[in-house]
């Protein structure tokens, strides 16, 4: 691989820096930790702060440069990883009216969260681990946002998935945190099939994974270059992938549980950046959506359905972070519906504004609870309900049903568990049981081995 971009113009170098800086930060704090010599807390936060803030400044510079050229798309070729026959894996980044504002926003937010987490996690046993995962997340986010091909986008998407799951399980000694992390990872991985599939369809349809072979022109006025059925297939698969990452029905169960992670990671992952990754991918292929009305209407239906579901369920939550999680889910649903309706700039503005507000709310939540308790103490009791609710207008019977529905989280998880997860697990456990009995029969005993060689003898 050759870093061709660095030998070209300054804008290409600044775009390349978006990958180099967080990846270098990841290596700088990760490698010493691997050999058992972690950096100090101060050095760790400084390295990550430098990476993200320099990315932010570089992205602003690129934004200015793009603005002077009416946001004409620039493709930066970073190099070719490998090539076999007609199959080539190259690293192409795209700087345009969608990716660069998004990078400004994401790197800026990562810088702030880095500063917050440096204090918040002071002397926490997993301090270095958190910042390794934050740097990994930043690398993945920039890779996904700037991706010029499905292969690069997929790589970034995977970084987000694994860093997200590991941060949910950050407090590994808590059962709930570990279960929530595994649940999130499984959901992500199942929905990754959509991105795998989309990659396959794109490669088969165009012979390459480059987005330039799917659409031409500058965002948000690109023109679709593939046939209608291909566009439908690709967008449906993208939408499937997006449903998992954006916690849409029926894949929303992981989000409220994801709040088991530390507050800074909750803010950046589930209030701001990770939850909108699906929306970003759909915005990236907006011209394909224009040629795929079926997918667009499906997005509208799922988005509105999720928004209604999350707003109802969220209204009965008893802890602040769960309420915020359902609020995020509501907004993510609305954003997907906006994309389905054919808006382009509106969902982008919605993503940025919602992410900033939600991050603030989540970062503020621990101190807000503290303030609330102090207020109650000062008043000599609970301040009481603070706002008027629309639910009070409903007939008592209906509101009771809604209350029951909300408490049961819309029966979403029950349905998924009963009709998908449990039958699959039952089938696998049954197959495993048959295997064990067969092996026992082969061995002429009721059990195999009967021991585990704890010392592990040599062969």
């Amino acid at each position: 691989m050759t870093l061709d971009a660095l030998t070209c113009d300054p804008v290409s170098a600044l775009v390349a820096w978006q990958l180099i800086a967080p990846a270098a930060a990841l290596a700088t704090i990760g490698l010493p930790a691997l050999v058992g010599r972690s950096l100090s807390e101060r050095a760790t936060t400084r390295v990550v702060a430098f990476a993200f803030s320099s990315c932010f400044v570089a992205a602003l510079a690129v934004l200015v440069a793009l603005a002077t050229s009416s946001f004409a798309t620039r493709v930066v070729h970073l190099g070719t990883l490998f090539a076999v026959g007609h199959h080539t894996a190259s690293i192409d980044l795209v700087a345009d009216g969608l990716s660069i504002p998004y990078v400004c926003f994401s790197t800026g937010l990562c810088s702030l969260v880095n500063a917050f987490a440096g204090k918040y996690l002071h002397r926490e046993p997993g301090f270095t681990r958190f910042f390794i995962l934050l740097a990994l997340f930043g690398t993945g986010m920039n890779l996904m946002v700037l991706a010029g091909s499905i292969d690069v986008l997929f790589a970034g998407w995977e970084f987000l998935g694994i860093s997200s799951a590991l941060l949910i399980g950050f407090f590994h000694e808590r059962r709930n945190a570990v279960d929530a992390a595994l649940r999130a990872f499984v959901t992500y991985r199942i929905c990754d099939v959509g991105l795998f599939g989309a990659s396959v369809v794109i490669h088969r349809a165009t012979g390459t994974g480059d987005f330039a072979s799917l659409f031409s022109g500058d965002w948000p006025h690109a023109t679709c270059l593939v046939t209608g059925p291909t566009a439908v297939a690709i967008t449906l698969l993208f939408a499937f992938a997006a449903l998992g990452k954006s916690a849409q029905v029926p894949f929303s169960g992981w989000l409220p549980r994801a709040m088991e992670g530390p507050t800074p990671s909750s803010a950046i992952f589930y209030g701001a950046l990770s939850i909108h990754a699906g929306a970003y991918v759909l915005l990236r292929c907006e011209s394909l959506l224009d040629a795929a009305p079926l997918t667009a209407w499906l997005l509208v239906a799922v988005g509105i359905g999720t928004a209604l579901h999350a707003s109802i369920v969220g209204s009965v939550q008893t802890d602040l972070k769960s309420m915020l999680a359902y609020s995020s889910m509501t907004q993510a649903g609305i954003i997907l519906a906006e994309i389905g309706f054919g808006f382009r700039l509106l969902p982008l503005v919605h993503v940025v504004s919602h992410a900033i507000l939600r991050s603030l709310q989540i970062l503020r939540s621990p101190s807000a609870m503290h303030d609330r308790h102090e207020l109650a103490a000062a008043l000599g009791g609970h301040p009481g309900p603070s706002s008027w609710s629309l639910v009070r207008l409903l007939p008592p019977g209906l509101s009771r049903h809604l209350y029951h529905l909300a408490l049961e989280r819309g029966f979403e998880e029950t349905v998924v568990s009963r009709f998908v997860v449990r039958p699959l697990l039952t089938a696998l456990v049954t197959a495993d049981g048959i295997e064990r009995r067969w092996i026992a029969a082969l061995g002429g005993r009721t059990g195999v081995g009967g021991r585990h060689d704890h010392d592990g003898g040599m062969p």
Binding site: A33, L34, V35, G36, L81, F82, A83, V84, G85, H87, A89, D151, F154, A155, G156, E158, A165, L166, G169, H172, E173, R174, R175, A177, V178, L182, F185, R189, I190, D192, V193, F196, G197, S199, V200, H203, L425, L428, A431, D432, E435, W438, I439, L442, G443, G444, R445, G447, V448, G449, G450, R451, H452, D453, H454, D455, G456, G457, M458, P459
Partner: protein, 480 residues
Amino acid sequence: MIVASSTCVAAVATCVVAPLVGAAVLRLTERRLDPRLVAIAAIGTSLVAALTAATWWHLGAGVPILLGHRLAGGDLVHVDGLTSLLLPYVAVVDLAIVLVAPRRAFASAGVRRLLVGAAVTFATLATSHPAALTVLWAASIVATTSTIRSTVGGRTTARIYGRMMAVAIVCMAVGTALLVADPPWVAGSGATGAAGGWLVALAVMIRKGLIPFHSWYPALFSGASLATALVVTMPQVATYTAARLLVGHADGVPHELVVLANAALLTAAYGAALAVVQRDVRGLVGMLAMSQSAMVFAGLSGTVPTELCGALAVWVSSGLALTGIGLVAWALESRGGAISIETLQGRFADAPALAGFFLLFGLAALGFPGTLSFVADDLIIAGSLDDHVHAGVLVILTTVFAAIAVMRGWFRVFGGPVTVDAPRHSILPRERIAFTALLAILFGLGLWPGPFVHSLERVAESLLASRHHPATTAPLGEHP
């Protein structure tokens, strides 16, 4: 060219002989030399020799180097791209095992068996002669069965392994005899050759652990020591044999290859799915090993260079990553007993470094970007889809299930309420060296895959070329 061929063959010979010398030295100097040091010196010499052979082959014209008696399209010494790829790979796996093996397990007799087994594997990977392959198969099966039987509580596993491998060796012997008598890739071949092809395919299925002959795989990982299980499964001798006797003559055995490829695809998906519900780490590693090795074979049966490259990359990446996971599990077992994954074990605080290595090996096994397995998955999915859509779909399902299984295993082993306040089981320097070296290979080749993939492409092309021109070989020193 003659110098290059001679150097290459000498290097391969050194690779085979060095472990035997190590075993002999251990035998002669009983209790006077540290068995670990002798083993490291012997396998290290093999590794250097294997790398030398690989370098010479790649610097050469890329023509197979053949030497010795020739029979049914096979040669006693056969060094080509496949050999030059696999010899260093197996040496690295063996060296890692020697480095990580717990001290209590390092008895002189066990080390001697390991060294002799390594020599047999190296020899197998450097021949394409049907009779030699059969003899080497028999030698390794007898040695492995006796090793498992000598392990405490391993008799049941030895019985299962021995019975299945006895059938495999009989099929192999009869099949190769029939292939020699009536090669099916020669015009005018009859039913004898066809029967030979099917019997060899059956032998490969059993030795490879393909559905429905896969039961010895979980039994081996459950009842034998992890070192034995890794040494037996990671080199994938059956895949190599199939590459020489069947894939190398694909024109004569097309139906056998189709059956093997489909069985391999099913095994890959089935193994990965069952890995999700395993109850202990050994079962997890066993099922993943079964799945990944089947995926290698599925790709190797393909007809597209991309798919073959992917299969070879999976061979190396999954082998090294699963060796890493297996060795971390072995290190954990040696410290605190068997590891269940039915419930959360909370081992993170106890062994944080091992948790980190387990996670990194897991990521390297599940196709994480930046690792060799990402490149391998990319190639094998792209290639298998070029070949058959259903193959690509099964490969995608396999990668999804495998990833879920690996992360479930990691969370179950290391997550949960902690039982200690501080690390009790620090990682040993030799363990850290072994794990870091394996990771350096996996991540190094993942971040900079170009030269490696290019060399794989040459190997794939030579394999594809041998399918259609099985006789285009030249004896030692007669290359242009």
